[in-house]
């Protein structure tokens, strides 16, 4: 049996900001987007299962994903390979998902991250409960949390 847990937008935003600041620097914070854009490009997801079911997904543009990776690896964007990018975005979503899991305060397990070029659409039985449209270095960033609908058969 899994629990139904309300995840607050403000809580998720705070932890995303913490991940960004810790690993990408405090000089260029991730900010709420005034006009949400469509990231496209790359997406990374982790699923939470066990005591609570959810999927956390981060979407970035191609340029944003390369900038994130270069910052994390402290290298030039021109030197970033797609393998570097998959690994860095996987770690990024792992930290976001792990901290979202902690908000649920339940015994659940985090999957290894899945990273892809394009859209990692969450499973069809999950509803979006949090969507953060953000901007970093002028590029759109989206973070979402999907959970089963309340009262769904689990």
């Amino acid at each position: 049996m899994t629990a139904t847990i309300d995840i607050g937008l403000a809580d998720v935003q705070m932890l995303v900001e913490e991940v960004w600041t810790s690993f990408l620097g405090a000089d260029e914070p991730v900010l709420p987007a005034i006009e949400p854009g469509t990231p496209g490009g790359w997406s990374a997801a982790v699923t939470i299962s066990g005591g609570w079911e959810a999927q956390c997904t981060v979407w970035l543009t191609e340029g944003g994903a390369r900038a994130v990776t270069a910052r994390m690896l402290m290298c030039d964007e021109a030197d970033v390979t797609d393998d570097d990018l998959r690994d860095a975005l996987g770690e990024l979503v792992n930290m976001v998902g792990g901290n979202v899991k902690s908000l649920a305060a339940s015994t659940a397990s985090l999957s290894l991250p899945l990273v892809g070029h394009g859209d990692l659409t969450p499973a069809s039985h999950l509803d979006e409960v949090v969507r953060l449209d953000l901007t970093w270095l002028g590029d759109p960033v989206r973070v979402s949390v999907h959970t089963p609908p309340e009262g769904a058969d689990r």
Binding site: V19, M72, A88, N94, N99, T107
Partner: protein, 127 residues
């Protein structure tokens, strides 16, 4: 001083290597617990292991239990560095023999403070 960094993310291994290098550590990397155990079996004697929890092949918790079960590695300090922040997980890791626990995301200062607490880097001299 020597650190064994155990994390399936190459990015995180590089971040941790850079962090501990700034504190005067050399480092060896492993992608999972089994590879880290292989390093120990081959004679590596790290002063500290920095251990992720969720990894393929062998997770960090299993690595901690295996190291603590072997007399040869009694002197190795173990520190979890993981996104797993549930109280129960922290208690479980510490009970299994981990000395410290750092939750990702972390800052370099947080790692330095823990290593200082463990006596592996010198503390700041009071003014």
């Amino acid at each position: 001083m020597h650190a064994l960094i155990i994390d399936d993310s190459r990015t995180m291994r590089r971040i941790l290597r850079r962090t501990v290098a700034d504190l005067g550590f050399d480092a060896t990397e492993a992608e999972h617990g089994q590879e880290a155990l292989d390093h120990l079996e081959d004679g590596l004697v790290p002063d500290i292991c920095l251990i992720d929890w969720n990894m393929p092949v062998m997770d960090g918790y299993t690595f901690v239990t295996k190291v603590r079960a072997d007399e040869r590695w009694r002197g190795v300090t173990l520190m979890m560095v993981t996104t797993e922040s549930e109280h129960g997980r922290i208690v479980k890791a510490l009970a299994a023999g981990a000395h410290e626990y750092v939750i990702k995301p972390f800052t370099p200062d947080a790692i330095a403070e823990k290593l200082e607490l463990l006596g592996l880097v010198p503390g700041e001299v009071p003014a």
